[in-house]
């Protein structure tokens, strides 16, 4: 068992030695991830775990990879994607150029889902998707667009439920238990490291997606990130969150209007 004070020590170490700031992460979840990593890597004590993090920059890489949650799927919450298809992309059609930011994109499954939506709406040629994450290993996976074949059945079901009418397998080629998605889809993606805790706005977007990232942040940090998104969104742009996340408690909520049931807000103020 790890004490609260030990979590504090580790969080301090990470900031002082490496500049990673986990101090505003949801504490219960962060603590659980730390205990999980300690157990996974068979450290006999927290002191030894902390020593390794402090003294071994390579282990820090593993720490960041394992502490940050990379669970994701294609067309996650299919009705959300249906709403993107029918409501959001149709209003973006008129724009000469569409800029999308997928913040905290993890291993990229949702970035490829978006590219497929854009392709089917005949918008991909005039779109750019900026996909960012703080986890370099996850981002590398996203860049490659290679996912396990075993997941495709579920993804294909999600795709159909989201309103997709093509044969889902036409978007990838399968080999050795893996699939590689069509490189035409990734031509419009730009991958880069971005830490929502410490990095700034870098462009203006028509749509920002940040799904199931804010649940790991406490309220003050959520507010910082909402400000960052607000700064990065064009007038009448859209902000799309995870299925249990909300702008309801945020400082910027009055400038936004939620669209129906889905967790998508339009910037009106």
């Amino acid at each position: 068992m790890i004490e609260e004070a030990e979590v504090d020590q580790l969080v301090n170490d990470l900031y002082e030695l490496y500049g990673y700031d986990f101090s505003n992460y949801s504490r219960a979840s962060l603590k659980r991830r730390i205990i999980r990593l300690c157990t996974l890597d068979k450290f006999p004590s927290f002191a030894e775990f902390r020593h390794r993090v402090r003294s071994d920059a390579d282990y820090l890489k593993r720490f960041v990879e394992e502490i940050t949650v990379t669970v994701t799927e294609m067309f996650r919450d299919p009705l959300f994607y249906k709403c993107l298809r029918t409501d959001i992309l149709t209003t973006l059609t008129a724009k000469p150029f569409i800029r999308i930011w997928h913040a905290g994109c993890s291993t990229g499954e949702e970035v490829f889902s978006m590219a497929i939506l854009l392709k089917e709406a005949k918008l991909l040629h005039k779109s750019l998707i900026y996909a960012t994450d703080l986890n370099p290993a996850a981002l590398e996976k996203a860049r490659n667009g290679i996912f396990p074949l075993a997941h495709m059945k579920q993804y294909s079901e999600n795709y159909i439920e989201s309103g997709g009418i093509n044969d889902f397998s036409s978007y990838y080629t399968a080999q050795y238990g893996q699939v590689k998605f069509d490189e035409k889809l990734s031509e419009k993606m730009i991958f880069s490291i971005h830490n929502l805790v410490s990095d700034r706005s870098f462009n203006e977007f028509d749509l920002i997606l940040c799904r199931n990232v804010l649940i790991y942040f406490d309220k003050p940090l959520q507010d910082r990130v909402f400000d960052l998104f607000d700064e990065s969104l064009a007038q009448l742009g859209y902000l799309a969150l995870g299925s249990k996340e909300t702008l309801k408690f945020s400082m910027v909520k009055l400038k936004y209007k939620q669209l129906g049931k889905e967790k998508i807000w339009r910037k009106i103020g």
Partner: protein, 194 residues
């Protein structure tokens, strides 16, 4: 009976289960008196349907307010909170909920172990953990955490559970304070109102 075992007033009751435990809840909820001094938290294994029908289903059975948790909701006494499908539910020391979509635990998300352990961390000896019917061993480790933190552990009488495995596993592996059938569970929970 139960009151004698309590060291401090109960602040939270966590109830978990999988297969068949919805039936238990549908019998349990109509018989509960309004809860006053504590918070109830329900974690059930179920498929991610995309619709929050569990909240509606349970809310229809009781006058106690039932809410599916949204990220960063506060825990308030007198309310029954339901863990959303496909997220782990954790409790912060400042008495707000956090959600977590990390790997499944015991093939389950939400996992009972995750919520029970987190609740034990926050509520210590003012927590009651109740494990209902189910077909896997999720919840056993969580009840152990509750026990270690000084809380009260309860398992549904296995013979009365649609799937006996879950409460049975806990009874074998954890010091269980009470093994109760549905009428006994009702009077136990009603007795916690102070």
């Amino acid at each position: 009976m139960a009151e004698n075992r309590l060291n401090s007033p109960v602040k939270a009751v966590v109830i978990g289960g999988s297969a068949g435990s919805l039936d238990v809840l549908l019998k349990l909820l109509p018989a509960l008196q309004p809860i006053v001094s504590f918070t109830a938290i329900i974690v059930l294994h179920r498929k991610n349907s995309g619709e929050s029908t569990l909240e509606d289903l349970l809310a229809g059975k009781t006058t106690i307010p039932v809410r599916e948790v949204e990220d960063k909701d506060s825990l308030r006494p007198g309310i029954i909170y339901v863990a959303p499908a496909d997220y782990h539910l954790l409790i912060e020391k400042n008495l707000t909920f956090s959600l977590d979509d990390s790997e499944k635990v015991n093939y389950s998300r939400p996992s009972l172990d995750v919520t029970f352990e987190s609740a034990a961390d926050v509520f210590g000896d003012s927590l009651v953990g109740i494990l209902l019917s189910g077909a896997n061993s999720d919840g056993t480790y969580g009840l152990m955490s509750i026990k270690k933190a000084g809380g009260i552990t309860i398992a549904q009488t296995p013979a009365t559970a649609q799937s006996a495995f879950m409460p049975q596993q806990a009874i074998v592996n954890v010091p269980i304070d009470f093994i109760l059938d549905i009428p006994e569970l009702i009077s136990f929970i009603n007795s916690l109102n102070k």
